[in-house]
């Protein structure tokens, strides 16, 4: 289950993953790190199971607190200015994405970085796998990266016999539990302090106290050994400056610095849209990202990677690779969906989303990216047409668009994604039904006929029977059937009762 283990019965090479075979914490199949994204359950049963899970209410409440703090959509004046600037920089990037990528690649190469520009997720993970096997790597220390989740990197390296350990605390917790990150910036947000205590106690073989300091120290000690032993580091990228070839990674635990400085071999993995025009733009984008993600002006650590170790330097990777992958993104340029490439992965839309919160996090989307950004982005990634129905997993409340630091019109994109999905379906009952509906309801007499039919049905058919009709049955699970026995009733008002209705009007 856990991808950090080696073959059964063998102790993992990773110190941090020792004892993982003792972990018995259960989780639904759809939250597992081994879920094949193409094989996820249908959305409705998955969401029904998610809202019925034990403890989901507590997760929801935690997310609500975070949502109130961070994602209210009430941007302070200085935050609004930052947001305007950040949104503009991201659009500027997208207008010439390929140009900025070429400049970035040239700058990286001039700094001794070996650049791999690949198209698909499979090519990306295979490129990293080749680098690892070429160097005989057996242990990888990895910092948090949604891009590596997207390309299924850890699972791929594991099949090559390589141990991978996540060094971000939340990501480490999720890895030990065998689960995917449940939130873009808070991978273990779906777990309570007690959950983590139980998990680490199992890992430890002896009970640990429910004290965050003790639990964090426990992880820290174990991870420290892996930083020393790992032959290769893998990190993600928050921003890649085209003018200087600087890769910027933000974190709060210092683990990125360790990953990028301890092993002799470093691989940074990024999707194409992480490029930004100028290094100076991080003056806007880092505080914007940190404000949106965490209500902090900046993270504790900003790691600026400026190429491989040069003669005379005492640390940094001797060999530095950067894998830049596309996975369906550049095909979006020039379409309305290109907007989603402006995303800086702050996770604020997830905090803001009542669907995400009620589901207890992003697992029940069954994809790498959950929440509003995931419901828009996931269906657009890769060559395969999967997850195309995700835009429906949304009540269209629009809170995400207000919460987005780079002003992506997420709610409009979710509506558009639904139309895209339906346009791809073979014409069936649903399409026939809506077309018939539109014919009826664009013809006033037929609209009134359906209203009369509803009125008669509401009067003659008992609610208990109505509630078993198709569609109505879906409404009536957990709700009473609305009373339509007065459909079309027109009250007699002053103007209506004093001398008849104006022509053509229904009074």
């Amino acid at each position: 289950m856990s991808t950090g283990t080696t073959a059964k019965g063998e102790e993992p090479r990773s110190t941090a993953m020792r004892g993982v075979a003792r972990v018995t914490r259960g989780h639904p199949v759809w939250s597992g790190s081994d879920l094949d994204p193409g094989q996820r359950p249908a959305l409705r049963p998955m969401t029904a199971e998610a809202v019925a899970r034990e403890g989901v209410g507590h997760t929801r409440q935690r997310l609500e607190v975070l949502g109130r703090e961070r994602a209210s959509g009430n941007w302070l004046p200085w935050e609004s200015e930052l947001r305007d600037r950040g949104a503009a920089i991201r659009r500027e990037t997208l207008r010439d994405l390929d140009g900025y990528l070429s400049r970035l690649a040239a700058q990286l190469e001039s700094r001794g970085v070996i650049v791999h520009r690949v198209s698909s997720a499979a090519q990306a993970r295979e490129a990293v796998g080749r680098i690892a096997t070429d160097h005989g790597v057996t242990l990888v220390a990895k910092s948090k990266s949604m891009a590596t989740e997207e390309i299924g990197l850890t699972a791929h390296l594991t099949t090559l016999g390589i141990d991978v350990v996540e060094t971000d605390l939340g990501e480490y917790i999720a890895q030990v539990a065998g689960e995917r990150p449940s939130h873009i910036v808070g991978p273990a947000l779906h777990m309570s302090r007690q959950d983590v205590t139980d998990l680490f106690s199992q890992l430890n073989g002896d009970p640990l106290p429910p004290d965050p300091d003790v639990l964090a120290s426990y992880a820290r000690e174990r991870l420290r050994a892996d930083f020393k032993a790992a032959q290769m580091g893998i990190c993600g990228v928050n921003f890649a400056a085209a003018d200087t070839g600087t890769l910027v990674v933000v974190s709060n635990e210092g683990n990125v610095d360790m990953v990028a400085s301890q092993p002799d071999l470093l691989v940074a993995v990024m999707p194409v849209e992480k490029v930004i025009p100028r290094l100076a733009d991080i003056g806007t984008l880092v505080p914007l990202l940190c404000t949106a993600a965490n209500k902090e002006f900046t993270t504790a650590y900003q790691t600026l990677l400026s190429g491989a170790r040069r003669p005379g330097e005492i640390d940094g990777p001797a060999e530095f690779h950067c894998v830049i992958f596309d996975n369906g993104r550049t095909a979006l340029l020039g379409t309305p969906e290109e907007e989603i490439l402006a995303c800086i992965r702050c996770g604020n839309c997830q905090f803001s989303c009542p669907v995400f919160r009620t589901l207890g996090g992003g697992h029940a989307y069954g994809t790498t990216y959950g929440g509003p950004v995931g419901a828009v982005l996931s269906p657009l990634l890769g060559e395969a047409t999967r997850d195309r129905d995700l835009p429906f997993l949304c009540s269209l409340c629009g809170a995400c668009a207000d919460a987005c630091p780079v002003k992506i019109p997420l709610d409009d994109l979710l509506v558009a994604g639904r139309a895209t999905y339906e346009a791809e379906q073979p014409r069936g009952v649903e399409s026939f039904g809506w077309t018939l509906w539109s014919r009826f309801w664009s013809t006033p007499a037929l609209y009134r006929a359906t209203r009369s039919a509803a009125r008669i049905a509401g009067r003659l058919i008992p609610a208990g029977v109505l509630g078993r009709l198709p569609v109505v049955r879906l409404w009536a699970s957990g709700r009473t059937v609305p009373d339509v026995s007065h459909a079309g009733d027109r009250p007699r008002g002053r103007s209506g009762s004093s001398g008849g209705s104006p022509e053509g009007e229904d009074r």
């Binding site: 959305l43 409705r44 969401t47 029904a48 998610a50 809202v51 019925a52 929801r60 609500e64 109130r68 009542p354 669907v355 009620t358 589901l359 997993l393 009540s395 269209l396 409340c397 629009g398 809170a399 668009a401 709610d411 509506v415 639904r418 139309a419 999905y421 339906e422 649903e430 509906w437 539109s438 309801w441 664009s442 006033p444 609209y447 209203r451 509803a454 569609v471 879906l474 409404w475 699970s477 957990g478 709700r479 009473t480 059937v481 609305p482 339509v484 007065h486 459909a487 079309g488 009733d489 027109r490 009250p491 008002g493 002053r494 103007s495 209506g496 104006p502 053509g504 009007e505 229904d506």
Partner: protein, 249 residues
């Protein structure tokens, strides 16, 4: 958010956009809306050929079908000096999506340009209403009215004019009730779980009524409360204002 320019003076006659949802399942709020508008001093007409704003089809992934129905409703509202609707979500749909579905010229149609959400109209022209009601209410901000239409203040302005009325805010008053149109039938368990969160929050206000300006939210919350055996009562804001009128229409 689209900015709609509207007359600053009280129109003589108002066309009521009933919305399909209220036309089918919320006759009480419809009657109350008409009563309040008449008390303000306008003649209310209900254009006979109106149907629906098309939102159910749009949000289900069928924009062409949505546009066809919306076009019919806009046709029926052509020539109206002012159009008032009692559903914030339908108002937002028309204001936000008409031009997307029907082209730029849709912005100049009466049903778009002269459209008022009920509380906007009452806030603008109902200042002289003599309102008094001894009640405690809490207000639920419907999502589309709040975010697509950008209207957060008009409902509270209207409620604040009612003497004796106590508005107790609930936590997260602008969080979705879980209705979401066809979302409620596609994901009933999730939709109901969201309604329960909203009802729990509303209950903390210890109010007699959960008030909103959206019949959709109210239907979701009332039918969930009834099925769960909760005593919470919902009320459209038009009904509250009508009940508060000293000289009932």
């Amino acid at each position: 958010m689209t900015v709609v320019s509207r007359p600053g003076t009280l129109p003589e006659r108002v066309a009521l956009f009933t919305t399909c949802l209220a036309d089918f399942a919320a006759p009480g709020p419809l009657a109350a809306t008409i009563a309040v508008l008449e008390a303000i001093g306008v003649e209310v007409v209900v254009p006979r050929d109106q149907t629906c704003c098309g939102q159910p089809a749009l949000n289900s992934g069928f924009p062409a079908q949505a546009g066809r129905v919306l076009a019919q409703t806009l046709d029926s509202l052509d020539g109206a000096e002012a159009v008032v609707t009692l559903a914030g979500s339908c108002a937002a749909m028309i204001v936000h999506h008409s031009t997307r579905l029907l082209g730029a010229e849709a912005a100049s149609r009466s049903g778009v340009r002269n459209l008022w959400e009920f509380t906007q109209f009452v806030a603008a022209f109902g200042e002289d209403l003599d309102l008094e009601l001894d009640a405690t209410v809490t207000y639920h901000d419907g999502c589309h009215m709040t975010r697509l239409l950008g209207e957060r203040t008009a409902p509270r302005t209207v409620l604040s004019r009612i003497r004796g009325l106590r508005l107790v805010e609930m936590p997260d008053s602008d969080t979705c009730c879980g209705f979401g149109g066809t979302f409620s039938a596609k994901f009933p368990e999730l939709s109901v779980a969201m309604a329960d969160v909203k009802l729990d929050n509303a209950a903390t206000a210890r109010a007699e009524y959960v008030v909103s300006a959206d019949p959709g939210c109210l239907m979701q919350l009332q039918t969930r409360a009834d099925a769960a055996g909760r005593s919470i009562r919902t009320r459209h804001i038009a009904e509250i204002v009508r009940d508060a009128m000293r000289t009932p229409a």
